[in-house]
């Protein structure tokens, strides 16, 4: 087990910069998710940690050991590929024993380790099956077992759940998280699915266009997004972001949202940070952090769509730049076409500089 440190990591492919300066420290035993849309540089980062790609510049350290020049077979890294990369011409047993065999481990020792890992992953009954006709969830366990048998310092997982069907994915998330918490294995998990990152990771590194946007615990990233990208990317639906300007009122500093009206007064901390800021801002609040009312003071908008999805109801209001989503429990109702007053929980409001996209006022109460 060991910590992983990425220092000034840069990766260019010809003219294309896949990763622009990445600094990240992953603690021993930590479950770190690298999260972002495709092309954000997350897979490149992971491939460099594994040694499949050499960084253009910068360093990767496992503990104190500089990994530059260490070939991928010698890094002690376990890697679970997106499609699992199972050796289809071998049996499950041959797959599991592959690492020890290649290292010339004695037969008895190998058998013992294969037996133990198969037991742990409930693969014992399948050991002599050929690996090319197994279901996805078994393939995944074989892939994990094949790496785990080498007792890697660090486990890298590349979107391992993307081929699993939706219902089973939820179960796998819980299981994977539980397994990691039990063994305290350092894990780096690459995904484009914010739900996977939120539910499983100890910390999330959100990336976009080769730039690290924010690192934090799931709730940190959700509650206090560092910028507009993170605010939109995390959460389902993402954060509401309404353009406006700070304005003084008799009740204190409010945000003038133009045709939508003005907000309630901002909390002290945000108001202080915003005073003296004259430019346009984005007024952000989570769809779950707002209530709807028929009348009263607040942001007035018309209900344009209502989605009733089991436990939650997503209410869509307004159009274009001033579109708002509010998530209600399914015991609350909203009628299509009705006018409604949206009242955000002002303690959970976040403000962003519209020009730079960066959060104003730093972290909230979290």
């Amino acid at each position: 087990m060991s910590t992983i440190r990425l220092e000034n990591l840069v990766k260019k492919f010809g003219d294309f910069t896949a990763l622009k300066t990445m600094d990240l420290e992953i603690a021993d035993g930590e479950f770190m998710a690298l999260l972002g849309p495709s092309g954000c540089g997350k897979s490149t980062t992971m491939n460099m940690i594994a040694g499949m790609e050499e960084p253009t510049s910068g360093r990767i350290l496992f503990g104190d050991r500089n990994m530059s020049g260490v070939p991928m077979g010698r890094r002690g890294v376990g890697f679970v590929f997106q499609n699992y990369a199972i050796f289809t011409h071998m049996t499950v047993r041959q797959n599991l024993s592959y690492g020890p065999r290649m290292h010339g481990a004695p037969k008895a020792e190998t058998d013992r380790r294969v037996g133990a890992i198969a037991e742990l992953l409930q693969l014992t009954a399948l050991l002599d099956r050929r690996a090319d006709r197994l279901s996805v969830n078994i393939l995944q366990r074989v892939a994990i077992g094949r790496s785990a048998i080498m007792e890697p310092v660090i486990f890298l997982l590349d979107e391992p759940l993307s081929n699993v069907d939706a219902a089973f994915r939820a179960v796998m998330r819980t299981e994977l998280k539980h397994l990691q918490r039990q063994f305290r294995q350092t894990m780096v998990y690459v995904t484009h699915d914010q739900l996977e990152a939120m539910t499983m990771a100890d910390r999330i590194a959100v990336m976009d266009h080769g730039v690290l946007q924010q690192v934090g615990t799931p709730l940190d990233v959700y509650n206090n997004p560092a910028n507009v990208f993170v605010a939109r990317f995390i959460g389902a639906p993402g954060m509401n972001l309404l353009p406006g300007r700070p304005a003084e009122s008799d009740r204190g500093l409010v945000i003038d949202l133009g045709p939508l009206g003005a907000t309630a007064p901002l909390p002290e901390r945000l108001a202080n940070a915003l005073r003296g800021h004259s430019g346009e801002i984005l007024f952000g609040f989570r769809p779950e952090q707002a209530t709807l009312a028929g009348e009263g003071r607040g942001i007035a908008a018309q209900v344009t769509a209502v989605e009733r999805i089991g436990a939650r109801t997503i209410v869509h209001l307004g159009e274009g730049a001033s579109a708002i989503k509010v998530v209600l429990n399914n015991d609350q109702q909203a009628a299509l076409g009705a006018s409604a007053i949206v009242t955000p929980n002002m303690d959970a409001v976040r403000i962003f500089n519209r020009a730079t996209g960066q959060a104003i006022g730093g972290s909230g109460n979290g």
């Binding site: 077979g73 990369a85 050796f87 592959y98 290649m102 290292h103 090319d132 080498m150």
Partner: protein, 319 residues
């Protein structure tokens, strides 16, 4: 809606659920649609075979003044076949053909595999070398024959090169020496057919899943271990195919060889094809030729069936 495209698209999209039908009904329909072609092929293949069998049981020759269908007048039962068994020239030609094959095919295979592994990675000038490498395959065998014929003349480039290398005048009479002539012929074959081997093996090599190779590397396998545990097993089928193609083709070696040596000196490079050709054009004993051809066909068929069985077994194991 454009119905034609609609049905096609929908068929494709919905194919998953329709697979079961498709198999039964399509199999029946497919059989009926293919029937005329099958009959035609059968006619093309079976008719000459029967004709050959018929002639092989006679002493018929184009000089006999009879139409081939009247060959029964020269019926000799199995005399051609018993002659064949005692024909030393035939057996030595067959043995020579076998020697050429046993040398050429493995050399072509190893060279082809080495080149394929080289070309599986990127290196500067890859495309250019690739084109150059494939060129011999595109040369008409007869032309290749003339090229090598000239290359191996006593005053030809081969001796010039050897002279330059050794610093003394080399004047080897390549094509006049029985052993060297055979070697020269083999070199020509290797030159011309290594590219095909290379091409087939490269296709197989590129098909080895890259992530499985990476996974093996990450698990600590070195290059040789990766080759033996991943590459070779995955390429088994394609290797058998490549070898089968070359074995069958090499058995029929003729044009290049005939132009280089004409089977000589003496009968030093006379392979089975050359022998048959000579019997056909010089001796004109077609009944005997038909018997030889049938015997060879039988041998080759057995070899092919064996190879196909191995291939099917390999495919079965993989599926």
């Amino acid at each position: 809606m454009n119905v034609a495209t609609a049905s096609e698209d929908a068929m494709a999209m919905l194919a998953a659920e329709g697979r079961a039908v498709a198999r039964d009904e399509a199999a029946r329909l497919g059989f009926r649609l293919a029937l005329p072609a099958q009959i035609l092929v059968l006619f093309i293949a079976v008719f000459p075979l029967l004709m050959q069998l018929y002639i092989s049981l006679t002493d018929w020759s184009p000089l006999s003044g009879l139409g081939w269908w009247n060959a029964w007048e020269l019926w000799n039962s199995f005399a051609n076949y018993t002659d064949l068994a005692a024909d030393k020239r035939f057996w030595s030609a067959l043995w020579r053909t076998f020697v050429v094959m046993i040398v050429c095919v493995p050399v072509e295979f190893l060279l082809g595999l080495g080149l394929a592994m080289l070309f599986a990675d990127d290196f500067p000038g890859k495309r250019l070398f690739y084109s150059i490498l494939l060129m011999p395959m595109m040369v008409v065998p007869a032309v290749a024959g003339y090229m090598f014929f000239m290359l191996f003349q006593s005053g030809g480039p081969m001796n010039d090169i050897l002279s330059a290398l050794t610093g003394s005048r080399v004047a080897i009479a390549w094509l006049s020496d029985p052993t060297l002539a055979l070697a020269a012929v083999m070199m020509a074959d290797i030159w011309q057919w290594t590219p095909l081997m290379f091409l087939i093996l490269l296709a197989g090599l590129v098909g080895v899943p890259e992530d499985q190779m990476k996974a093996a590397t990450l698990l600590g396998a070195n290059a040789w271990q990766r080759f033996t545990t991943i590459v070779l097993p995955k390429m088994k089928t394609i290797i058998i195919i490549a070898l089968a193609i070359r074995v069958i083709e090499n058995f029929k070696i003729f044009d290049t060889l005939y132009i280089m040596t004409g089977g000589g000196p003496g009968v030093a490079t006379e392979t089975i094809s050359v022998y048959i050709y000579k019997l056909t054009t010089q001796d004109l004993i077609w009944g005997y030729v038909a018997a030889i051809a049938l015997a060879i066909l039988l041998v080759l068929s057995i070899a092919t069936v064996f190879a196909m069985k191995r291939m099917a077994a390999a495919r079965e194991a993989r599926a």
